[in-house]
């Protein structure tokens, strides 16, 4: 019974931390738009908590470059598991239009494991909400399988 409650709770209360890896701000604006009354993600228990130590979901927008990849990795490491990562926008997926720049590493998954990819330039709020819901399904899967989360890939 208690176990059931806990399992149920884990997908009912995703707390987000949002990290901007250097996007053009298009994706950030769309992400924050989800929190407005129009989309009201609190319906799903989502809170923008702003502190990796309290968060379950890491939302990353923008391209990862050589400077901020350490920050990204540290934020990821400071989150207690179970946790999921959602990469948002073309930039977060692959580097987007900045891919060829000299300082760019590429997509988020070059640094930390990504669970859900939300494409778009910028991604639409509906798509982002969809991504979070998708991520929750994945979270409960992880929970059921009981397997530990992969460690970070690159240092």
């Amino acid at each position: 019974m208690l176990k059931k409650i806990v399992e149920h709770s884990q997908i009912k209360s995703p707390w987000l931390v949002h990290y901007d890896c250097g996007s053009c701000n298009g994706c950030d604006i769309e992400t924050l738009a989800c929190l407005t009354p129009l989309y009201d993600v609190e319906r799903f228990g989502v809170l923008n908590i702003g502190n990796p130590k309290h968060a379950d979901v890491l939302i990353v927008t923008g391209t990862v470059n050589k400077r901020n990849k350490k920050v990204l990795k540290q934020i990821y490491d400071q989150m207690p598991s179970p946790k999921i990562v959602i990469a948002i926008g073309a930039c977060g997926l692959s580097g987007g239009i900045f891919r060829e720049a000299y300082n760019v590493v590429g997509g988020v998954d070059k640094v930390i494991p990504v669970d859900v990819y939300v494409p778009g330039c910028p991604a639409k709020p509906e798509a982002i909400i969809d991504g979070v819901v998708e991520g929750l399904a994945k979270l409960s899967e992880i929970q059921k399988a009981g397997k530990p989360k992969k460690e970070a890939i690159a240092s």
């Binding site: 806990v6 709770s9 502190n51």
Partner: protein
């Protein structure tokens, strides 16, 4: 019998607290023309946090958190055992102090700033609550809760101004705007979560649980102002809480200096007026 009441209080308080907090979030959402989370959202949050990977930032953090929770539970137990009000308040203060000490343990600027602000919050509400309790004593002749229930007139009639003073303390203790100065509910950038920043997972779950106990305790104290009829009590509580939510929604977060100055001046002035009135025998 008192022991049974006390235990019952300790067991039931978290559930009541979850319902109160859930209503709070739904109502807040409605005020902002949103739908808001399910009623049991606070329960989901706590259960989820409990199941997270254990992670601490200092070896004595769990010590502080467990003492915080225990103090909150004991104070609720004492409340339902109709014990001494001043004692209840002091026991509750143990928890508040240990929460602060736990935040001081970690050299993170956010938790340090939060801890200091939390101390200022304690500094702001503590004298007010002591004065309110003394006002109750002057009306009933005892600090024991049982003496209040023996009254045939609600306390509110004798202590209207002290009830407003108590409202200030209530707002600070519930961490509502304009006084959510130390733990910033919405994770403002300069503070992150302040005093709560460095607690995570299971520790945070315990803190949330303790906060539920504190909410119930403080609402319980509020209910003492109308003990003669159950409906009067319910209406008083509902109205007070509604006002709290409205104030929370319409006001911005203020600075701790403003809090200390404005709350002490208004609070002390109001208390002095009410107390002088009591001393001069204006009871009826």
């Amino acid at each position: 019998m008192t022991l049974v009441y006390a235990l019952l209080g300790v067991v039931l308080a978290p559930f009541a607290g979850i319902l109160v907090a859930g209503f709070d979030r739904i109502l807040t959402a409605k005020f902002q023309s949103r739908t808001g989370p399910p009623l049991l959202q606070p329960l989901y949050d706590i259960a989820k946090l409990w199941a997270k990977e254990p992670m601490i930032a200092h070896r004595f953090q769990p010590l502080c958190v467990y003492i915080y929770l225990a103090a909150a539970m004991v104070s609720v137990a004492l409340f339902f055992a109709q014990s001494d009000l001043l004692l209840i308040f002091f026991v509750q203060a143990v928890g508040a102090i240990f929460l602060v000490i736990g935040a001081f343990l970690v050299p993170s600027p956010f938790s340090q700033a939060g801890a200091n602000r939390e101390l200022i919050q304690i500094l702001t509400y503590e004298p007010l609550i002591i004065i309110v309790l003394a006002g109750i004593y002057l009306t009933t002749g005892s600090f024991n809760i049982s003496a209040i229930y023996a009254m045939d007139k609600p306390l509110l009639i004798n202590l209207p101004l002290l009830f407003i003073v108590f409202g200030y303390a209530l707002t600070i203790k519930l961490r509502k705007s304009p006084f959510d100065i130390s733990a910033s509910h919405h994770a403002h950038q300069e503070l992150v979560r302040g005093v709560l920043t460095e607690y995570s997972g299971r520790m945070l779950a315990l803190i949330e649980l303790a906060h539920l106990y504190e909410t119930i305790l403080i609402l319980g104290l509020c209910s003492l102002f109308w003990t003669t009829s159950i409906w009067g009590m319910v209406v008083l509580l509902a109205l007070t809480y509604l006002i709290e939510i409205v104030v929370d929604n319409i006001s911005a977060r203020m600075s701790f200096r403003w809090m200390l100055k404005s709350v002490w001046t208004t609070g002390l002035a109001l208390s002095a007026i009410n107390l002088i009135w009591l001393y001069s025998g204006g009871r009826f």
